[in-house]
């Protein structure tokens, strides 16, 4: 049985897709007003404030943590500056019980769900309260309580996993879906293509959310793909797709709300391509001046998604300059104080070196740990972090604790 019927032609007719161009869904202009004919999604004052305050929180967090990295207090950091609307707007459109499987630049999604400043800091400093037990680099957050799968560094691996997770949700009949975030760079990986195909064939309630922010480290989107972005790929897999202005909170929110409805009610996957810009460096190890111009960055700074949202909030009388100032100050203080506490906390115990590799610690690992402890007892001054936990056998913090 052929699955691709079509009308016949009798001369060689090649198509390259140029006949399709995917429009960009936009609601909110930079001045904070709606475009002519645009209708704001149904969003209440409380939700809008929660979204906006989360945007301010991640901005403050990013600024302070980059500064901390520059001071050598933190080994590494990654900002989401410029992409707040794409990330937080989409998460806000979901149910808190829906699963999030992110790439690494989505701290806004986690913050929106209620990850506390202290929880962020414990991971960033890899201390004894870090849920990941000090095993991963900074920004590799995770929270079972908040339905946020722990980040893995190998890119795109979460995308097919999200399809599988969502298939399980469908089987369980929970009325939930999974959203997976990734960059336009990661969308080149084989895992991305495998994921879309699996999800479309098996009718899975998953939202594939691409943050097309123009760069994958130094590689511009023009050297990442030849086509009109990521969105058209959905057609090849027979999947619904929307392209949205990623700096437009209202459009992202509205698009994701509808995507969730399609996923959960119709059990169908959806692809969203959010057009945005990575305003900051790729990471604290990167220097973008080597591959892009200040002028290009400035042009995007004028499209700041937070400023746009702020103007709209003020015009709704849901926000004020005074509140803005108070919030900024309170957050700066909170971030600094929490950071000081977190960096003073000891690292996870030596025992955490061998736990969680398997369900139970196998004898071979128990022996290796004993051997290591004996060595450290002999030279405690050479292994100050490990030696400390030999004196005071602390327990590492479980998330529910």
């Amino acid at each position: 049985m052929t699955t691709t019927p079509g009308s016949a032609v009798h001369s060689p007719t090649f198509m390259n897709g140029d006949e399709f161009t995917i429009p960009t869904f936009m609601l909110l202009a930079q001045e904070g007003t709606l475009y002519d004919g645009a209708k704001a999604p149904d969003i209440d004052r409380e939700t809008a404030r929660r979204i906006y305050q989360t945007m301010i929180f991640t901005r403050v967090l990013d600024e302070r943590m980059m500064a901390a990295q520059r001071q050598g207090r933190l080994s590494f950091y990654m900002q989401c500056t410029g992409e707040e609307a794409a990330i937080i707007g989409s998460t806000a459109a979901l149910d808190d019980a829906d699963m999030i499987m992110a790439q690494y630049r989505e701290q806004g999604a986690l913050a929106y769900r209620g990850f506390s400043c202290e929880e962020f800091m414990n991971q960033l400093f890899g201390n004894e309260l870090d849920y990941g037990k000090g095993r991963q680099m900074p920004v590799h957050y995770g929270s079972a309580k908040l339905n946020y799968m722990t980040i893995s560094s190998p890119l795109a691996t979460q995308i097919p996993q999200a399809a599988g997770y969502a298939y399980g949700q469908k089987l369980a009949g929970e009325g939930r879906c999974t959203i997976t975030y990734f960059g336009e760079g990661a969308a080149s990986e084989g895992d991305f293509h495998a994921a879309l195909n699996m999800a479309a064939v098996h009718q899975v309630p998953v939202i594939f959310f691409c943050r097309n922010n123009g760069y994958a480290i130094s590689t511009p989107a023009s050297e990442q793909f030849a086509a009109d972005g990521i969105a058209p790929r959905a057609f090849g897999y027979k999947m619904r797709v929307i392209r949205v202005d990623g700096n437009d909170l209202l459009a992202v929110y509205a698009a994701t709300r509808e995507a969730r409805r399609i996923a959960v009610e119709l059990n169908q996957p959806v692809l969203i391509e959010a057009m945005t810009y990575r305003l900051a460096a790729h990471s604290s190890s990167d220097d973008p001046s080597g591959y892009r111009s200040k002028k290009e960055e400035e042009a995007w700074r004028e499209k700041d998604p937070i400023l746009r949202m702020q103007r709209w909030m003020i015009s709704q009388q849901w926000w004020s300059e005074a509140e803005e100032k108070a919030l900024q100050e309170a957050l700066r203080r909170e971030v600094l104080e929490t950071m000081k506490r977190a960096e003073k906390r000891p690292p996870p115990s030596l025992d955490s070196l061998v736990t969680d590799v398997y369900h139970d610690v196998p004898p071979v690992l128990a022996r290796q740990l004993e051997h290591l402890k004996a060595h450290i007892r002999r030279y405690p001054e050479h292994y100050p972090r490990g030696a400390r936990s030999l004196e005071t056998q602390r327990t590492t913090g479980g998330e529910e604790a």
Partner: protein, 325 residues
């Protein structure tokens, strides 16, 4: 002679190879205008143009599959995998294709001109996904050559040899030493032999064997041991596959003791292969069991990286245990 760090030595080798042969092509994630995230390919695009030094899309299986095709066609691809931890999406292309191209075609086709460069190893606060030493996975695959340099001079000579070798070579660069290891490097186009170990220091009581970044640590351990009156012979294996059995055997027959060290986990690590071979060949000459000092049988941690890594003190203690056995 020019004073260089390891990255400059790599860049210099690539430059020489590209100048000498216009079929040499360098590519990988971010290697173009930016020169790679570690800057190993700096200025090559400026010098040789975008057709010969370019960014690829972010897809490791694509990079190596593409490189296999390019090599089969007769070009000389040098593919960069940004971190050895991200070589695994390309594992199928390397293990099933690169390694078996010549064998399965009865030598009708081969991809021997391919070189895959990738930074490996720990000690840089990289946690589990920026610290792995995956050489043993590839050492299990006939058809590949696996090379690990330890300093700038060696890096240049071995990389040029790898590029020109008629077999595909995986070239693991110790990223902890990229900027930390400096030294005089000849300006000329020179090669060091693949498949040969290098005796760095002669000694009587025990043979210390390693490769790449671990050589620095072994050297420090040897100094501690010398102070305690133990004479160590220090050998850099340089090529993991095929490895130099004869040189190691010669040394072990002399010293009667062998210690092997690597950062990768103990179980299934390449030290196991060496130990088995040496006990087969030198059984009656061994004064004590062959010792392995390695990472733990766990993924690579972050906060307790120092505790995890095989360091000079752990090796020194193991040397003493071996000598006092």
């Amino acid at each position: 002679m020019t004073q260089m760090n390891m990255l400059q030595a790599i860049n210099n080798a690539l430059d020489i190879a590209m100048a000498a042969n216009d079929r040499v092509v360098c590519f990988g994630e971010d290697v173009g205008i930016f020169g790679g995230v570690f800057r190993a390919t700096s200025h090559l695009q400026e010098k040789y143009g975008r057709a010969r030094c370019f960014n690829t899309p972010l897809v490791e299986q694509g990079i190596i599959g593409f490189a296999n095709g390019l090599a089969a066609q007769g070009s000389t691809p040098i593919a960069e995998i940004q971190f050895a931890d991200y070589i695994f999406p390309a594992f199928d292309q390397i293990v099933n294709e690169t390694a078996k191209f010549r064998y399965r075609s009865g030598n009708l086709f081969n991809v021997g001109s391919l070189t895959i460069r990738t930074p490996y190893g720990g000690g840089i606060s990289g946690g589990l996904y920026h610290s792995q030493s995956p050489e043993a996975y590839f050492a299990h695959t006939p058809g590949l050559k696996v090379v690990v340099p330890r300093n700038p001079h060696q890096t240049k000579g071995l990389l040029l040899a790898a590029i020109r070798d008629p077999d595909p070579v995986l070239f693991f660069e110790p990223k902890r030493l990229y900027r930390a290891s400096t030294g005089d490097v000849p300006d000329s186009d020179y090669q060091l032999p693949l498949g040969e170990a290098e005796v760095i220091k002669e000694g009587r009581d025990i043979t210390l064997l390693g490769w790449g970044a671990q050589m620095e640590v072994l050297q420090q351990a040897a100094e501690l041991a010398e102070k305690a009156g133990i004479s160590c012979e220090l050998i850099d294996l340089r090529t993991i596959l095929p490895w130099d059995v004869a040189s190691v055997e010669r040394s072990v027959l002399k010293t009667g003791r062998l210690l092997i060290s690597h950062e990768a986990p103990l179980t299934g690590g390449f030290a196991g292969e060496i130990a088995a071979t040496m006990q087969e060949r030198c059984f009656l000459y061994l004064e004590s069991p062959i010792v392995r000092v390695t990472g733990l049988d766990t993924p690579f941690p972050l906060a307790l990286e120092k505790e995890y890594l095989p360091d000079a003190l752990k090796i020194f203690e193991a040397i003493k245990r071996s000598v006092e056995f």
